[in-house]
């Protein structure tokens, strides 16, 4: 166990470089380059906020940052589930040549999507600071915890999915559907109170996605600290998934090369 993580650490130059290379190739030869990860969610937010605030009769000033926070975190989640499930298949050239721990190939996605998330969240901080300046305070420090907490959940999830998808190549396709439904039943764009007023408390209270989003939303949108429950639920999810991922990895890591 410990030696496995020390091997991950020993290969750090390699996966950090893979992650940075992914980002470079994503922005290569585009005029706006890095700023695309800020422009894209902002543009989508403007569009959605305009439409939804009319349909749902909500206040656009507070609803827009709600959507923006949903978009950027969801982007991260889908990059690491749908994208992450393919990480072993995409890295087959490396896996067949070098005996690195396989978890570095999902860590590569975690790192690159974390950087994108951090960049994208800059626009969220900026937006909120302008339209809701009264929320600014020490509680904003809590928003920084979302990055390690998200990574602690996404790393085991994408590693698990990568194992399964290498064995069953239908999984990445099916995942698109699963994630779409997960999006629909989670308070990503739709407000939490809409679920609650519909009597769907369980979809909020037992939904890790809600608790993770609260780490960002409670401070920024309400000027409050995230609750202990938010942290316990997020970290508990991370713990359970990590145990499963370690177990599955222990059994199947060495066999992955046969399925590539």
């Amino acid at each position: 166990m410990f030696s496995y993580f020390s091997r991950v650490w020993a290969a750090r130059y390699f996966w950090v470089h893979l992650a940075l290379a992914d980002l470079r190739s994503r922005w290569r030869r585009s005029f706006f380059g890095v700023t695309w990860s800020i422009i894209q969610p902002l543009g989508l937010t403007c569009l959605l906020a305009l439409v939804f605030s009319r349909i749902l009769h909500t206040d656009i000033v507070t609803y827009a940052p709600y959507i923006l926070s949903g978009i950027i975190v969801w982007e991260y989640i889908s990059a690491n589930t749908i994208g992450g499930s393919l990480s072993f298949v995409q890295a087959d050239a490396y896996i067949k040549q070098c005996n690195h721990p396989l978890a570095i190939y999902t860590l590569r996605n975690i790192l690159s999507s974390s950087i994108v998330l951090m960049l994208a969240s800059l626009s969220l901080y900026g937006w909120v600071a302008i339209v809701l300046p009264e929320n600014f305070g020490w509680s904003w420090l809590a928003t920084l915890t979302i990055y390690p907490v998200l990574a602690a959940i996404a790393w085991p999830v994408s590693t698990l999915l990568a194992y399964v998808s290498t064995r069953f190549r239908d999984v990445p396709h099916a995942l698109g559907l699963v994630m779409q439904s997960l999006w629909f039943i989670s308070p990503v764009y739709f407000e939490e109170k809409m679920f609650r007023s519909g009597g769907l408390h369980a979809l909020v209270d037992y939904n890790p996605i809600y608790h993770i989003l609260q780490l960002l939303r409670a401070p920024l949108l309400h000027g409050e600290w995230p609750t202990l429950e938010n942290y316990l639920f997020s970290l508990g999810t991370a713990l359970v998934l990590s145990l499963v991922a370690i177990l599955v990895g222990y059994k199947s890591e060495r066999k992955v090369i046969f399925y590539l």
């Binding site: 130059y13 390699f14 190739s25 067949k96 040549q97 005996n99 239908d170 046969f258």
Partner: protein, 251 residues
């Protein structure tokens, strides 16, 4: 004082035949519902059978055998890529392997960037690779192409670059799989002398090849593989004779 050694005791290796049959959920479900009409399931491919080898510091070992005899599998097992099904595998020392040279290039990145990436892939630090960069560039001899993306390279140029990178960083245990024979005649000469010096630096060399002259000039000990079994282990000259006997006069 560390001692470099490769030790295999009763090593068996099976390729999971499952990997080549059930690729999709559909076929898995189909086979679950279908009564196992065909009892003759495809058996796992038994790629290495009861292999017992000990290779010590200073040995130069050549692997002989027909295609599919288990030479590459043996090398990849020693490199730690394939899991052994049973038996003991002990490898002490830093392993460097040259298998498929053109694997793992980033087509959109330039040659220079790829030098760094490949070095990192081999587990080296960026600092070390930057020191070695000029040496690699001059050995590869690609001129201004080194600053062009890899996708503009011809196959031969890719091999030259890969070869230059892989052979600049040495190791205690060197595993080579049919790599002698890359590039044009001019480069071949350079490559041959480079390989020779690399071999001299390495503590242990294991080379799989069909080139008897290369084997004779480089190796001292020969292992003959036949259908996953080591049928001969002795001097390289005798191994070549044995290989010809095992595989019939047509060779």
């Amino acid at each position: 004082m560390k001692k470099n050694r490769i030790l295999l005791e009763n090593v068996n290796l099976h390729y999971a035949a499952m990997a080549y049959r059930e690729r999709s959920l559909k076929s898995l479900m189909a086979s679950a519902f279908k009564k196992s009409a065909r009892n003759g399931q495809i058996a796992d491919i038994h790629a290495l059978k009861n292999v017992n080898v000990e290779i010590n510091s200073g040995e130069r070992v050549g692997l002989l055998g027909h295609n599919g005899a288990g030479k590459s599998t043996f090398l990849k097992t020693v490199a730690g890529l394939y899991p052994v099904s049973s038996g003991v595998l002990q490898v002490s020392g830093q392993v460097r392997s040259l298998f498929d040279l053109s694997l793992g290039f980033e087509p959109d990145a330039t040659g220079r960037e790829n030098i760094l990436y490949r070095g990192l892939l081999l587990g080296l630090s960026p600092k070390f690779m930057r020191q070695k960069e000029e040496e690699i560039v001059s050995f590869a001899g690609l001129g201004e192409f080194i600053d062009y993306p890899i996708k503009t390279y011809s196959a031969g140029m890719q091999v030259r670059l890969a070869f230059a990178i892989s052979t600049t960083v040495g190791g205690d245990i060197l595993l080579l799989d049919e790599v002698i024979g890359a590039g044009d005649a001019n480069f071949m000469e350079k490559a041959r002398s480079r390989i020779t010096s690399l071999i001299e630096q390495a503590e242990i060399l294991v080379l799989a090849s069909h080139d008897f002259n290369a084997l004779k000039s480089i190796c001292t000990r020969g292992l003959v593989f036949h259908h996953g079994v080591i049928v001969y282990d002795g001097t390289i000259e005798d191994a070549i004779v044995e290989y010809k006997i095992v595989n019939g006069p047509a060779q």
